[in-house]
Symmetry: D2
Subunit: 133 residues, 4 copies
């Protein structure tokens, strides 16, 4: 059972010379879905980072498999299927559909970025897990 | 009296190192507002271009004045204030607001692009004017 | 006589369904040309802002007139034609060419953003003018 | 031994509110590296597609692991490490470095898109393999 969804309206400028979505945009909308989810469940990235003392919930890796094309005028639904929590990272599973048709599926693995000795390091994700439940 | 509006939700990835919107995105959303308007009033760019025998309703010039900043989590309302029609181009006036606050104002001048002798040229915009009236 | 130039290689993903550059990218490259110029003449935006005590050299307005199209594989040359300095802003004039052909011309007006009473305000651009000569 | 490399100069506008590269840009540059490679080894995507009778060498899946951050002013080197050919797809392995430091590693799997019964399908990649050797 999906955790969250939001709709993305595909515009002319999101498409390439073939008239289908230029693929890095799919990653941009995946990231945007995560941030919309933070606003839906809590107070959004900016406020949450300030309260939790983190630089950001940044990316460790990301992948997408493109199952069918989407075009100008399509209304794409991005789903968060679930989140798996580890000690220093969490993995979010996504899917996007156009009506009944699967358009893509993929993941983001994110960390809880803190500054340590002037460098960005991955901290304990527990405090975020407690808030997103 | 405004002709049309649509809302744009500002995401983390739209902002720069100052935490405010990176300005080329404002142009992307201005273009997206025009394309959403084509879907609202008619059948959208792809179908309309096919029916009208044009390559696209492309840009001749574009300008924006940035009146106040917008940030992650803001819901920006883009307004089409009006359209002025000439023989071979039309100018669209835009404004974007955040509640009562003005964020930007600007214009796009667009043509009706046709292929002539293997080159892109500006055709008569009359057929589009008749449909968007 | 132009002040500075840099070359931009147009990639597949920069182009729209007509196979020509999607116009907000032209603004992105105009901004990128300004930042490359800051690295060429001085130490770049990040270091300069820290030294000058500013948030950034942000945008007040921007405009472009598109004179001819550019496509995948083209090497576009962006020129800074000149900079005009006022008390609280400066205007940069740009042009981009493809060999002998003019592709676009336009401007950015930028300010020297400082924080005042928790808001972003435009400060005196003199210290930047002294450095960029 | 790497097959190809090209340099990407990271600009202010490529970075997010943390001052590090916004991750979908890394996918955009990975795609741009593939297209630059097509120009380096052959005639580029537009001409090659016309000659080979394909719509494009489109994406089936893409992944990146982010090993360390990159910032404004950095010069990132994208490497194509190798290409593995199957019957109906090929996988390209990438790496990006900042001097000696690894910034990211990942893959693109691409197909040879043809139109079949009005839909996009994956054709035999042999003709492309013959040209890229």
């Amino acid at each position: 059972m999906a955790v969250y969804f939001r709709d993305v309206s595909i515009s002319f400028g999101d498409c390439d010379a073939l008239g289908i979505v230029y693929y890095p945009n799919y990653f941009r909308w995946m990231d945007g879905t995560f941030h919309a989810f933070l606003h839906d469940r809590d107070q959004g990235h900016t406020v949450m980072c300030r309260e939790l003392g983190t630089l950001g919930f940044g990316l460790m890796d990301a992948d997408l498999a493109f199952r069918s094309p989407a075009r100008e005028g399509d209304l794409l639904r991005y789903w968060i299927e679930g989140i798996e929590w580890s000690a220093r990272s969490f993995q979010i599973t996504y899917r996007a559909t156009l009506g009944d048709r699967l358009v893509l599926e993929g993941h983001e693995r994110r960390g809880f970025f803190v500054e340590r000795d002037g460098r960005i390091a991955a901290g304990d994700v527990g405090p975020l897990r407690d808030r997103l439940g």
